[in-house]
């Protein structure tokens, strides 16, 4: 009987001690901080300038949704090499593409029916990325404000832009 009464007393003392000491433990000191994250532009992963062959091949595929033949690629590359101002020669060749049948470009009505969708699809088609909120907003406002802007002109601006020259 005596043995039995000792065990609860020890247990009780242990629990009391635990309660007393744990009650005296100070609160942990929390430090709130911000992780260092490098903010990069939307095109940051594109660092390599396309070669003339790459540029023309990709451009043709973007516009016609099919590959340019090897012979035509060689011909066009020679023409590009024969003109010093690459921006201008690209623009003339692009304008020539725009005069060819078979290019796949949405109609003006389709573009204006859902501008956000058109802008997102154009960014995906030419830049292989989503537009930022600011980019989407700028293009939405710009296209809405000018009835002369056609999908063809938007495509030209993307195809001639600096980001499109990189991958």
């Amino acid at each position: 009987m005596k043995k039995l009464s000792i065990f609860p007393a020890i247990t009780l003392s242990f629990l009391l001690a635990l309660l007393v000491f744990s009650g005296c433990k100070p609160d942990p000191e929390y430090i709130y901080d911000v992780n260092q994250v490098e903010a990069l532009p939307a095109d940051a992963d594109k660092t390599i300038l396309k070669t003339e062959e790459q540029y023309i091949s990709v451009l043709y595929a973007n516009l016609f949704q099919k590959a340019l033949s090897a012979n035509e690629l060689v011909e066009i590359k020679r023409v590009i090499e024969s003109v010093g101002d690459k921006e201008t020669v690209y623009e003339v060749i692009l304008s020539s593409f725009m005069n060819q049948p078979g290019k796949i470009i949405p109609s003006d009505a389709t573009m204006r029916a859902d501008l956000d969708k058109f802008i997102e699809e154009t960014y995906a088609r030419f830049y292989v990325r989503k537009p930022t909120a600011a980019e989407k907003e700028w293009f939405r406002n710009y296209i809405q404000a000018d009835a002369n802007i056609s999908p063809e002109l938007v495509y030209m601006s993307f195809a001639l832009s600096n980001e499109y020259q990189y991958y």
Binding site: G84, E91, V92
Partner: protein, 434 residues
């Protein structure tokens, strides 16, 4: 106070350049003909025709638009086809030879016997001996000096090339810091640009309205580029302004139309590639009236395998240069009487032939020995001494890199080029050698 007041500070001229160029301008325009491909002194200035190459004692002048002297009277093979192949010399275009109108350096030394180093020496005034093919010039070209020190726009300087091979398209600007693409020249290789490939892929370009269509298109492009530029994504190469680009596109359109209608300003005889290049060079001059135009010829390089063809090409190079000069004087009023022309080969050809014989059993010549380092130099135009011949075989005078400083002097920025200190140590303005 007085000293402070006298201090010179750089200022931006309306044209965008720092400082005004320091010298007086001798002519408003310069056309620099790279009389290239490798021309032997013996068949050009020395007028020895077959006498100093094939053991046939027939001499004579086959460059009678440029040089004083009577043409050969026998074994005429360099002309157009008459009753025999090449037996009809091309008629003279100009009555007074360029030699009589200007100054001829009859014996000039060049350090190289290679095409690309030679062309580099002509356009940059320095050979850059360590420079390989497929590499842009490492020293500034005459285009960059002109644009930087005269404040010229891109369409005021032109390089009309004969080919897109042999690194020729790379010669329109260098990689030198503080010069480079921002001061580069427009380049075309007309036989490609306006040849079958160009006709197929550029002639049918859609024409957009400059304000209603191209204006908004460029604004969208510039918006897109503002992001790309912020992350350092510029596109290398020369830049024309939007206005110049439009002018360039209109020029291309016009050239495709004129090519299709066979109305390019080609010389009377137009049966080789150099003469085609000359014809389109005339069109560039007529359209843009550039301050500086460089035209590259090279057909004489066929001498590696055919001496008869070489003679024909040399005769046609003379014909082409005369047509170019005559066209400027008679068809471009804005440039007539205000244009200087400088003509220098990039190197010569060998003294000893190779074993290849042609249809006339004549030996061909390569370019590698000391005879290949002998050339001539010529300049003609306003404020250039007329009928002046300097140097001879025994007394060479001039250097293959003299072209840059000569043009710089004509256009009034020689001191700027000298101060840059980047031309060959032996290079001088031809005027300073007189």
């Amino acid at each position: 106070m007085a000293a402070a007041g006298a201090a010179v500070f750089p200022y931006i001229l309306p044209s965008g350049r720092l400082f005004a160029s320091s010298g007086a301008q001798l002519a408003e325009h310069v056309v620099f003909v790279l009389f290239a491909g490798g021309v032997r002194q013996q068949e050009s200035v020395l007028q020895r025709y077959l006498d100093d190459s094939q053991g046939v004692p027939i001499a004579g002048n086959i460059m009678y638009n440029m040089l004083e002297g009577a043409p050969p009277t026998q074994k005429i093979v360099y002309g157009t086809n008459g009753s025999l192949d090449g037996n009809t010399p091309i008629p003279k275009i100009i009555n007074t030879t360029l030699e009589k109108q200007g100054t001829l350096f009859k014996e000039v030394h060049v350090d190289t016997s290679g095409h690309y180093a030679g062309l580099n020496g002509l356009v940059s005034g320095n050979y850059a001996a360590t420079q390989g093919l497929k590499q842009k010039p490492v020293y500034p070209t005459i285009f960059e000096y002109a644009r930087r020190h005269m404040g010229l726009s891109a369409t005021q300087t032109w390089f009309v090339g004969n080919t897109i091979g042999n690194s020729v398209p790379l010669l329109n600007y260098s990689t030198y810091p503080d010069y480079g693409a921002a001061f580069g020249a427009n380049f075309i290789a007309p036989q490609v640009t306006f040849g079958a490939g160009g006709q197929k892929h550029m002639a049918n370009a859609k024409v957009y309205h400059p304000e209603e269509e191209l204006g908004p298109m460029y604004r969208m492009k510039y918006f897109l580029d503002s992001l790309a530029l912020s992350s350092g994504k510029d596109v290398p190469g020369i830049k024309n302004t939007d206005e110049e680009k439009n002018d360039l596109k209109n020029f291309f359109k016009e050239m495709y139309n004129k090519t299709a209608s066979n109305s390019i300003a080609l010389p009377p005889v137009r049966d080789n590639a150099d003469l085609t290049t000359i014809g389109y060079a005339c069109e560039v001059l007529k359209w843009f009236k550039p301050t500086l135009t460089v035209v590259n010829l090279s057909a004489v390089d066929g001498c590696h395998g055919n001496f008869t063809g070489y003679l024909k090409s040399l005769h046609r190079a003379d014909h082409g240069v005369a047509h170019l000069w005559n066209y400027i004087q008679t068809q471009i009023p804005e440039m007539a009487g205000k244009t200087a022309m400088v003509i220098i080969p990039e190197h010569g050809r060998n003294d000893v032939p190779n074993p290849i014989i042609d249809q006339n059993l004549w030996y061909a010549y390569d370019h590698s020995d000391d005879n290949s380092k002998r050339i001539f130099g010529m300049m003609v135009g306003p404020n250039i001494p007329a009928n002046l011949q300097l140097g001879d075989e025994a007394n060479p005078l001039g250097h293959g890199c003299d072209g840059v400083l000569t043009i710089a002097e004509i256009l009034g920025f020689k001191n700027e080029v000298l101060n840059a200190g980047l031309t060959h140590g032996d290079a001088m303005s031809m005027f300073d050698r007189i």
